[in-house]
């Protein structure tokens, strides 16, 4: 901050230094003034130019590390003639720890390596979950990778590959977690490490792991394979705590905001106690969310598997839909079996999909029936909102 002269004037961007929310412009500028990295000055100049002309100036290319087909997103400036300092500005995607947990020692080491080899800008985290190191030249990519790989980190996915996984904080700090999202992500992504590094699929394949149907990981909307924790038995009720809630919030409040908002009206308040018709409960989480002290998830735990979530290209936004209502997930054996199931499903997709077709689109194209058969899954009413409303099917005869 001492020598303001390192950076060129950026009157438009400067306007984003003000205001109460943390300013990326301020962050960039401060670090640039301190580090005096030309690549950073180049970035800031180009960004100012983008803000002025309302146009982006990056184009793609191919940059990578030895042996990997993905993990680096390469960018070359289209205005390098005007602003040469950020001519190259690649991003290195690094798989984060599950639940984004860090100790400061390892994180500082990452910062040091990045300061040495790159721009010093990092995205914590990308929307898919990667720890993204933004702004590096081609020649620095391999040395940077080698350093972080030695620290125990590995690159994430890009292109037609398995992508970096993402898990909610789960059992680490959440009483709703029905399975170990961290360990499951760790092992599942470990199993697919080859598919992350070498894109060989028809298109991208994303995994997200949410410990319960609150889906803090947006898995239904944003991942091809959504693994969501769930329980089979009853919600545990602590009636003494129910009483406390009645005292604190009033019975009317609980009737209007818990019972009435239960999607299947499975809840009744009788006198001072709460009755849940568990056979009618659809595990929406709402009552547990409101009455955290009185209610807890059941003991018979596992996951439900939803598939097909993704953005709108080309078929309109797709939300994942249930293909396995319940899969026990308590032991290592359960997890091994789950991975076997995923393999079966993904192999089917890899064989059946058209180019650039994500698994939800493939299932939509061939029909859920055919998919279930191919994956060896039992059809069940849990997979549908309602049975079919048209007669266009050919049953056995």
């Amino acid at each position: 901050m001492s020598d303001k002269k390192f950076l060129n004037p950026t009157p438009i961007l400067d306007q984003l230094e003000k205001g109460p929310w943390p300013s990326f412009v301020k962050g960039f500028k401060e670090y640039a003034e301190k580090s005096k990295k030309p690549i950073l000055r180049g970035l800031i100049d180009q960004l100012e130019y983008s803000y002025k002309t309302k146009t982006g100036y990056w184009k793609g290319g191919t940059v990578g590390v030895v042996g990997y087909g993905s993990g680096v997103i390469s960018r070359f400036s289209m205005v390098a003639d005007k602003i040469p300092e950020a001519r190259e500005f690649h991003t290195v995607r690094v798989q984060p720890t599950p639940g984004f947990h860090y100790n400061t020692k390892e994180l500082r080491k990452l910062c040091d390596a990045w300061e040495e080899h790159g721009s010093g800008i990092m995205t914590m985290h990308g929307q898919t979950g990667n720890l993204q190191f933004v702004g590096i030249t081609e020649k620095e990519v391999q040395p940077f990778f080698d350093k972080v790989n030695e620290q125990g980190w590995d690159l994430g996915g890009a292109g037609a590959a398995t992508r970096t996984g993402n898990s909610c904080v789960g059992p680490a700090r959440c009483e709703m977690a029905c399975y170990d999202t961290l360990e499951t992500m760790f092992q599942v992504m470990g199993h697919y490490v080859d598919q992350i590094h070498r894109p060989e699929y028809p298109y991208k394949m994303k995994f997200k792991f949410s410990g319960c149907p609150n889906d803090c990981n947006n898995s239904i909307q944003r991942s091809d394979i959504a693994t969501i924790g769930i329980w089979k038995d009853k919600i545990a009720i602590d009636q003494a705590e129910v009483k406390n809630y009645i005292q604190k919030l009033s019975k009317d409040y609980l009737v209007n905001h818990v019972a009435m908002k239960c999607p299947t009206k499975a809840i009744e308040f009788k006198g001072d106690s709460m009755i849940i018709d568990d056979s009618n409960c659809v595990r929406c989480m709402h009552c547990l969310n409101v009455m955290t002290k009185a209610l807890s998830i059941g003991k018979q735990r596992g996951v439900t598997l939803l598939m097909g979530g993704k953005g709108h290209l080309k078929v309109g936004n797709m939300l994942g839909s249930m293909v396995v209502p319940f899969f026990k997930m308590e032991t290592q054996e359960d997890l091994d079996n789950y991975i076997k199931l995923l393999d079966r499903i993904i192999n089917w997709w890899a064989d059946s999909a058209l180019d650039h077709e994500r698994i939800g689109e493939t299932i939509e194209r061939v029909g859920m029936q055919e998919f279930l058969e191919a994956a060896g899954l039992q059809p069940s009413l849990d997979m549908v909102s309602h049975p079919r409303d048209n007669p266009f099917f050919k049953a056995e005869y």
């Binding site: 100790n103 400061t104 500082r108 350093k147 590995d154 700090r173 309109g316």
Partner: protein, 361 residues
């Protein structure tokens, strides 16, 4: 930076996800999978209580997501000082510090806030915007996501640090129509209005033509010959200006400083709480892409969120509130115009039509 000729000494270990066990706070390790309940002592702070009786307090604070190593180091300093050397990030780019000591909470908050990291984003607040790369890094953006994000959060700041919304509010913003920011209670996304101009000079040399053709959702791209060279053309009546072709073929220039506009979508919901997850719906479009403050966009964003704030009942998410009052009232209350573009015309359009005589006058 390193020397020009680099000699590799390290043999790659395809290690995958880093082992996370040494990244967990000891209290977390001890109570792992054995938490009993949580409370929110104040906005931005969570208290989780284990079956063991152990307590852990979480302080959540906003970051700029596009941080620098210095910001990260600063956060590490705080973690060392107040949280035994551990920290985590949330899926919405907030940072979280966990400590078993209630006494650490207030000083930590003070230090965060005085360094520009607002504490909040918990419970029924507006949490940080899920956003994307924009002009900082992506090759196809029509706007900058970090800037839109900053201007949105500046304007909504009070509702990040307080818990006064009907329920938690999730926002996102994306720098092109592809929408890497995902769906949300409210999303601000680029919406093109003009079919791509084709740069025939370079198309043949930089695009794999069949890939570009295949990328179009409405089969609007056709092979053609221009000046004797093979190129592509767009059937403009068919084109729905999605920009998907541009991702595959940069010669199909969809972006335009004036004609790439911003649109606002509401009612996306991912949780299964109460109602099933829902896709968000279009409620405003044609808003100018006006950096660095996007005032026209933020006016609408604020209007929608404040209408929701004053009108919705406890626990109602944006989409649930609209479901209750009806879309007609939503447009009335937010003073937004409804136009024919908001009537679906895509593959499953039928599903969105009013197949009933239900009508409000």
């Amino acid at each position: 930076m390193s020397t020009t000729t680099y000699e590799r000494k390290w043999k790659t270990v395809e290690s995958g996800v880093r082992n996370y066990k040494d990244s967990l706070h000891p209290v977390i390790k001890k109570n792992y999978g054995k938490w009993k309940y949580h409370e929110r002592p104040r906005p931005g702070v969570l208290k989780h209580v284990g079956e063991s009786g152990d307590e852990i307090f979480t302080v959540r604070a906003g970051t700029h997501r596009q941080v620098t190593v210095d910001t990260v180091r600063f956060l590490c300093d705080l973690a060392d000082k107040y949280a035994d050397g551990y920290l985590r990030f949330t899926v919405r780019n907030n940072v979280e510090f966990m400590t078993p000591k209630w006494a650490n909470v207030e000083p930590l908050i003070k230090e965060l806030e005085s360094n520009g990291h607002p504490v909040g984003g918990t419970g029924n607040s507006i949490s940080a915007v899920a956003h994307t790369q924009g002009w900082i890094h992506c090759d196809i953006p029509a706007t900058d996501a970090s800037g839109v994000n900053k201007s949105m959060m500046d304007s909504l700041f009070e509702d990040f640090v307080k818990e006064e919304m009907p329920n938690r509010v999730r926002l996102s913003t994306s720098c092109c129509e592809i929408n890497c920011g995902g769906q949300a209670d409210l999303a601000v996304i680029v919406q093109h209005t003009r079919p791509p101009r084709i740069n025939h000079e370079i198309l043949g040399s930089i695009c794999e033509m069949p890939k570009a053709v295949a990328r179009c959702p409405v089969a609007a791209i056709r092979p053609t010959v221009v000046n004797g060279k093979a190129s592509l053309m767009v059937v403009e009546e068919k084109c729905v200006v999605c920009g998907a072709c541009f991702g595959a073929c940069p010669a199909m220039e969809i972006n335009h400083p004036e004609h790439s506009k911003l649109a606002i979508w509401v009612g996306g919901k991912h949780s299964n709480s109460r109602t099933k997850p829902t896709n968000m719906k279009l409620v405003a479009h044609g808003l100018p892409n006006n950096p660095p403050h996007w005032p026209e966009v933020n006016k609408v964003v604020k209007k929608i969120l404040m209408t929701y704030k004053s009108d919705a009942k406890d626990w109602e998410r944006m989409g649930e509130w609209i479901d209750r009052i009806g879309w007609k009232k939503f447009f009335e209350k937010t003073e937004l115009p409804f136009d024919r573009w908001m009537i679906d015309s895509y593959r499953h359009a039928r599903v969105s039509l009013n197949k009933s005589a239900h009508v409000r006058f």
